[in-house]
Amino acid sequence: MSDKPERFIDDEGLRLDGRRVDEIRPMKVEMGVLSRADGSCYLEWGNNKVLAAVYGPRELHPRRMQKPNEVLVRYKYNMASFSVEDRIRPGPSRRSTEISKVSGEAFEPVVMTQYYPGAVIDVFAEVLQADAGTRTAAINAATLALADAGIPMKGLVSACAVGKVDGQLVLDLNKPEDNYGQADLPVAMTQDGEITLLQMDGHLTPEELEEGLEMVKKGCQQILEIQREALVSRYGNEDEEAEEESPEEVPESEEEEEEEERDDSFDNEESEAENADENDVTEEDEGEEDERQ
C-alpha cells in the first residue's frame, strides 16, 4: 500500500495515473464468459477485475422469501480474499452485506419484476482484483449479465464514482485517491439520469455535491456507451447482421410454425383420418394465439 502522495494533481492538471479530472479509467468488457450461468459478464476497469453472474429467474427457496406478485432480485457482492494486497477474510462482512443491499436496490427501478411472480433472479458479483470503485464496477458488470440472461429491463444501469482530492472534484477515483482523498461519492443511474444508487464517504459541500453529480452523469454516459457497444458488437457488425438475418426467424409466424411441427410429429404415430381433425385444431389455435398477441 502506497503512502499518501504529496499532491494528487500536478501543475498540468493531470492526476497520479495521468488522467484529467473528468476522465474515467479504460474499461474492457466481455460477455457470456460462464457457461453454467444464464448470463455473465467479465469487466476490467482500470485495475479492477469483476465477474458478474446471473442465475434465473428460478424457483425461490426458502418459500417465505417469495413475493407473490413479483420476482425477487437477490444481489450478492463479494470480494475474493486475494483481491487486495492484504488478504481479506473470506465470507460476508459488514461492508459486503451493505454493498449487496444497495446494489440490488439499484436494479429495482429497471428490472420488470412483475413478469416472474414468486421467482428469484440471483446476481453474483465477484471482485477478483480491487482498485477502488469495485461496487460501481460490479454494478456495470451485473447490468450486462442481466441483459445477457434475457431479463426484461426498462434500461441499462451504469455506475461511476466522483470524489474530492486536493479540494478538487475528480471523476472515477483510483486507489490512492480513494484511500487518502477527502470524499468518495459512488452513483448509479439509468440512461435517463434517474439515480438508483448514491452513497457518500467523506465531506462535500452542497455545491460540490451538485457539481459532482453533473460530472458523474457525464461519466455514466460514457460507461453506457461502452455497455451498448459491448451488447451490439457481440454478435458481429450490426449492419451486416440486419441484412444477413434470414426470414425464417419472423416472430409473427412462430406460432404457426410450432403448430406445423406438432402436426408433423404426430403424423408419425397417428392415422391419416385423425390428421384431418388435427388440422382443424391447428386453425383454431392460430386464431387464439393471434388474439393473445
Partner: protein, 255 residues
C-alpha cells in the same frame, strides 16, 4: 423488413401504437425490454437472445418427474415453475398406489399445458393425442428462445432435420428436444442442432444444416480420397445458394 440487435432501454419507435411484444411504452415512445433482435414490420417486436421458458396454456413441453404425490405428478418443465399433472389428466384411470408404476421419478413425458393461473401454478395434461411417456431416444436441451428457429419457417427446418437425419424429433416449447433414431444419426443431429443454436442469427441456415447432415454421411465414404477440399468447396456452394434462396424467401414475405 428490418432487423437489428437492440439492448434494453433502446428507443425503437416514436409511435406508441407500434408497441409489440418485448417492448414497453414510456411517455409515448416505444423502448426495448430485452437484449435481442428487433423486428419492425407493422409493430415493433423484440425477440430476446436468451431467457427462461415461461409456461403458457396449450404449449407442448417435455418434462421429467421430480416428485409423485397422492394425486399429482410434479414435473420439472425447465422453467422457474414446476408443473402439476393430476391423475385425472392421465389418459387412463390410475390408482394412487399405482402412480409410481405408471410414471416414476426421473421419467420423461411429452405434456401439454392445460392452464397457468396468476400465481403461476402450472396444470399439465396428458389426455391429448401425441402426449405420452418417453421410454426411448434421448432428450437434449436448447435455449427456449431458439425453438422457433429450430422449427423454422412453416416447419422447414424441422422437416429437413427429420428427412436428413432419419430420426424422429419432437420439439417442446420449453427448449427440450426429443430424438429417436440410430445412435450415430442422433449424434449427428445433436451436433446439427448445436450449430443451429449458435448460428441462429445467420442466413441460409437450413441449407447449411442440410449440407452438414448429408456431407458427413458422404464423408464417411469419400474421406480417404479428398477430405478437406471436398467440404470447403461444398460450403462455398451452399453459402451462395443460401443467399439466393433467402432473397426469394424475403420476396415472398413482402407479397
Amino acid at each position: 423488413m428490418k432487423r437489428k440487435i437492440v439492448y434494453p432501454g433502446q428507443m425503437l419507435s416514436e409511435n406508441e401504437k407500434q408497441a409489440g411484444t418485448g417492448t414497453y411504452v414510456h411517455e409515448g415512445k416505444v423502448y426495448s425490454l430485452f437484449y435481442g433482435v428487433a423486428n419492425d414490420k407493422n409493430r415493433v417486436t423484440v425477440v430476446p437472445f436468451s431467457g427462461k421458458y415461461i409456461p403458457s396454456p396449450r404449449d407442448y413441453v417435455i418434462g421429467y418427474v421430480i416428485e409423485v404425490t397422492s394425486s399429482n405428478w410434479i414435473f420439472d418443465i425447465g422453467s422457474p415453475y414446476d408443473g402439476l399433472l393430476h391423475v385425472s389428466e392421465y389418459p387412463k384411470r390410475v390408482d394412487s398406489s399405482m402412480m409410481r408404476k405408471e410414471i416414476g421419478i426421473g421419467d420423461c413425458a411429452i405434456l401439454r399445458i392445460k392452464d397457468v393461473n396468476t400465481s403461476m401454478k402450472v396444470e399439465l395434461s396428458m389426455k391429448d393425442r401425441g402426449l405420452r411417456r418417453l421410454d426411448e431416444g434421448r432428450i437434449i436441451d436448447v435455449s427456449t428462445t431458439k425453438v422457433p428457429r429450430i422449427i423454422g419457417h412453416n416447419g422447414s427446418m424441422v422437416s429437413m432435420l427429420k428427412k436428413e437425419s432419419n430420426c424422429d424429433i419432437f420439439i417442446g416449447q420449453n427448449g427440450r428436444i426429443w430424438l429417436k433414431g440410430k445412435d450415430e444419426d442422433m449424434n449427428r443431429l445433436t451436433q446439427a442442432i448445436e450449430i443451429i443454436e449458435n448460428k441462429s442469427h445467420t442466413s441460409g441456415l437450413t441449407n447449411h444444416i442440410s449440407a452438414f447432415l448429408r456431407y458427413e454421411e458422404s464423408d464417411e465414404i469419400e474421406e480417404k480420397e479428398k477430405p478437406v477440399p471436398f467440404t470447403s468447396s461444398k460450403k462455398d456452394y451452399t453459402e451462395d445458394a443460401c443467399r439466393k434462396v433467402d432473397v426469394l424467401l424475403s420476396d415472398e414475405d413482402e407479397n
